[in-house]
């Protein structure tokens, strides 16, 4: 008897982005158009630019890359009557540990991204769009480039698109291995051919939307955000906003509309990329879609709900709604949608040590709290794990975290500090136990000097 394939979505939830992802040849423009592809673009070019932005406003769309900033506000920030070049930049530098959704989107449904880019360029009157893809994503970049070439051939890109008197070009730009370049101002530096270091933020410097790449107004959006613009125009912003949390007229900062791509990974039976309606209980994602814990005899220990940079949550938070405000209330963040699940075999200090190595490796070195702080987090973690821990180490770690948090140039510093602060909140005893063992062994162990490799 054939076994029934487990569902890739929760019954009754719409699949705005992933509906056709498993259709054979969906990455090709012919198949894509057979399923209504580029209808949204055809509709968009008949609309007024402000009307498109208004649809996005009605949809309540917030940035899907991590910060959750309402998309229409960014778009509206482009100075009106600006006749100099300005740019749309797509952040496809998906480096947040635990996140693999954009890769799937670019591999399987690249035309959603390309169509979204063209519509957005039309809405913000930009003529050039750069898709900044992380260096490791050669395959997704190739798929995206293929989709762009096909769109040119169909007349959806280039000069006078669909006779609407609007020109647009999309370029794929490869990064070269830097987590930091996922931060929007560092990404802009990298796109301009510089070291991927972040820029000053307001009030010390203007926002990218005033002065971004090449000192021109720039909108930087995540891949998923831009792909979502397509279904929003197809079904209408108000219809899209019917899904998710919050009252219809709620401020976009307080609610989560529509669907979110989630990368479920770690100790679950069916890890994968799933599209869920915002506000779905986290338990349903892990135990419904994910099929529960990987090994039946091992219990759930904790989860990191939004990529490695957010605080971990424990069993009592399993019923927290998976939404921006739901996870914030639980004490964490939705972040990029990377939901990682760990069972009772996982050592929290060992995991945090690995994360500290990661952040120290990826710290760009521009500001002192992050550059120095992350290296001390590494050294103390390594010392603890090597059996040379001291009782005061636990508080020193916390002290370092508190001194990085909010004091670094960009959010990478916060991202290094938050997971450890979260770990200390629920699993401080594991750290203390390690420190006790270190003292009991009565020896001094120095961590190997593993500084960030050049």
């Amino acid at each position: 008897m054939p076994t029934e394939q487990p569902k890739k979505y929760i019954e009754g939830q719409p699949q705005f982005l992933f509906q056709h992802r498993d259709v054979e040849g969906y990455a090709n423009i012919d198949t894509y158009m057979k399923y209504g592809g580029y209808d949204a673009l055809k509709k968009a070019v008949t609309m007024d630019q402000d009307a498109i932005i208004n649809e996005v406003k009605l949809s309540g769309l917030r940035g899907r890359g991590g910060a959750g900033f309402p998309t229409f506000i960014k778009w509206n920030g482009i100075p009106k009557n600006w006749d100099q070049p300005h740019y749309l930049v797509i952040n496809a530098d998906e480096g947040e540990p635990g996140t693999a959704k954009d890769r799937e989107l670019m591999n399987k449904t690249p035309h959603l991204l390309v169509e979204g880019c063209i519509i957005t360029c039309f809405a913000i009157r930009a003529k050039s769009c750069y898709i900044y893809v992380r260096g490791e994503y050669m395959e997704p970049a190739k798929q995206t480039q293929r989709a762009i070439d096909q769109a040119y051939a169909q007349g959806f890109l280039g000069k006078n698109i669909l006779g609407a008197g609007f020109d647009c070009d999309i370029y794929v730009h490869m990064g070269a291995g830097s987590y930091e370049c996922g931060e929007e101002t560092a990404l802009m530096s990298s796109l301009m051919g510089e070291r991927g270091m972040p820029r000053h933020k307001p009030p010390a410097a203007p926002l990218p939307v005033i002065s971004g790449v090449w000192q021109s107004p720039t909108v930087v959006n995540n891949v998923e955000t831009i792909a979502t613009v397509v279904p929003i125009l197809n079904v209408g912003g108000a219809e899209y906003a019917k899904y998710g949390t919050g009252a219809p007229d709620a401020s976009p900062f307080t609610c989560s509309k529509g669907t979110k791509l989630v990368t479920l990974s770690g100790h679950v039976k069916r890890p994968g990329n799933y599209e869920i309606v915002m506000g779905t209980p986290t338990r349903d994602i892990i135990f419904g879609l994910g099929g529960g814990m990987l090994r039946d005899d091992k219990k759930f220990k904790f989860m990191i709900p939004g990529g490695s940079s957010v605080k971990l949550l424990v069993e009592e938070h399993l019923d927290a709604p998976y939404s921006y405000e739901g996870l914030t209330k639980a004490g964490s963040l939705l972040g990029s949608g990377g939901l990682m699940v760990f069972d009772e075999t996982t050592s929290v200090p060992a995991l945090m040590a690995r994360l500290s190595h990661f952040y120290a490796h990826e710290s760009c070195g521009k500001c002192t709290p992050c550059r120095e702080g992350t290296n001390w987090l590494v050294k103390i973690h390594d010392r603890l794990l090597a059996g040379g821990g001291r009782p005061e180490d636990v508080d020193i770690l916390l002290d370092i975290c508190n001194n990085i948090e909010g004091r670094s140039f960009c959010p990478l510093g916060d991202a290094a500090a938050w997971p450890i602060q979260g770990a200390m909140k629920y699993f401080r005893h594991e750290y203390e136990e390690l420190a006790r063992q270190g003292m009991a062994a009565n020896r001094r162990t120095f961590a190997p000097l593993q500084m960030a490799a050049v």
Binding site: E136, H173, H361
Partner: protein
């Protein structure tokens, strides 16, 4: 000296950007592909000259990015993700297994210069952990057995 072919390719890149400097990272990618997977100093100097940048600036950019190799590497660069999700799914054991099989440790190259083994930070294939990147190809859902097969196949090439 840049080859004529390289110049043509860089010219094509220059058409994409409003400044010459922006073509730097794509140009370094080109140079790395032409130099057996790493960036000799001379290649960086050539790019600097062609893009009208200071050689020190180009080297500064190249050393910032981990995917630009500053020393020769093996023909197949095995980069096994060792970030937290892959770690939870057995990446550390996998790296050890590969190291034992090839007789090398993390960061080393085999004496026949065929394989270089390295840990990598999150490759973004978390739903299919553990995973490994060889050149620009991903291998996912790895086990000791499947990684043995992949390496044996590459060794025969």
């Amino acid at each position: 000296m840049l080859t004529e072919d390289a110049k043509t390719k860089i010219d094509a890149l220059l058409a994409k950007y409003p400044t010459k400097k922006a073509a730097l990272i794509p140009s370094l990618w080109l140079m790395q592909a032409e130099n057996d997977g790493w960036l000799p100093r001379q290649a960086m100097k050539d790019v600097a000259e062609y893009l009208e940048l200071a050689p020190a600036y180009v080297e500064g950019v190249a050393t910032f990015y981990t995917m630009f190799n500053k020393a020769p590497i093996g023909k197949y660069h095995l980069e096994v993700c060792h970030n937290i999700v892959c770690m939870a799914r057995g990446a550390d054991e996998l790296i050890e297994h590969i190291g034992d099989k090839l007789g090398i440790g993390k960061g080393d190259t085999t004496t026949d210069r065929k394989f270089t083994l390295n840990g990598a930070e999150c490759l973004g294939a978390c739903a299919n952990a553990p995973c490994m990147m060889v050149g620009d190809v991903y291998f996912e859902d790895l086990t000791n057995e499947s990684v043995d097969r992949i390496i044996d196949e590459l060794a025969r090439k």
